[in-house]
């Protein structure tokens, strides 16, 4: 399933770095935060496997927009836009 533009999503509140060596491209500050899909940017080899020279599946990558104050109440910006892979997103 591909998320449609405008879909409400939540970044998984998952912390693989607590379970051992890993390489992840999902910033810690958006884990568990709700945002909106801007668009599907294309499909790319999963960097979490590429980084360890493992066979890497191709996964959808999205641009996702967040309210900056949903992350930090004292944020002085308005929005954060971040590239996030599909397996880090769930419907909100």
């Amino acid at each position: 399933m591909i998320f449609a533009p405008g879909s409400a999503v939540r970044v998984r509140d998952d912390w693989p770095e607590r379970r051992g060596r890993c390489h992840i491209r999902t910033p810690h500050y958006v884990r568990g935060v709700e945002g909106k899909i801007v668009r599907h940017l294309g499909d790319f080899a999963n960097p979490e496997d590429l980084a360890f020279a493992r066979p890497a599946a191709t996964v959808p990558l999205y641009h996702v927009r967040f309210d900056a104050r949903a992350v930090w109440p004292d944020a002085t910006g308005d929005e954060l836009m971040i590239e996030i892979f599909q397996h880090w997103l769930e419907s909100a």
Binding site: R25, T26, P27, Y29, L41, G42, F44, P47, L61, R65, A68, V71, W72, D74, A75, T76, G77, D78, E79, L80, M81, I82, E83, I84, F85
Partner: protein, 196 residues
Amino acid sequence: MSMNLTETDSDRLLAALRAVLADKAIATGAEITERIRVTDAGGPAQGARMVARAWADPTYRALMLADGARAAEALDIPMRGLPPLGVLEDTPGLHHLVVCTLCSCYPRAVLGYPPFWYKSAAYRARAVRDPRGLLAEWGTVLPDTVKLRVVDSTADYRWMVLPLRPAGTEGWDEARLAAIVRDGDMIGVTIPAIAT
């Protein structure tokens, strides 16, 4: 003891690495030479040419917003084998700021090497949490009516900003327009201005 100043440890290391890459059929000498050419071609003047063309030519602007890499190639900027280039369009009500909080992703094909501070922990931390405070240190003050969108470059794209064309540049040709566009303008820490 004599020293050969023309051959350093790093030269020997590089020669050994190139030999191993060739032996293992990972990268040929020609491929490395080509990549050096592409890297050397990158610099802020390339991005500035794109911005100036987009300001002057609505058709080019549409291409640049739809596919930054194709727009770069249309100006003979080498993009083959490089990540996709996304272009973020500033409007009178929306300003973009680019950061890479995870490492130092930067649109090198069109802007060259990032400024030293771009990789600093301070820039990366403040750009996402206190971007207006950060911008103020560059003298970039956005009216409260302008929405500030911070783009964290976390994965496979590279992002550049298409800033607003400053007032007072009506009738300028592309070369003159390109001359006022700085690297900071194309990641949103500064705004193009006419030198006074």
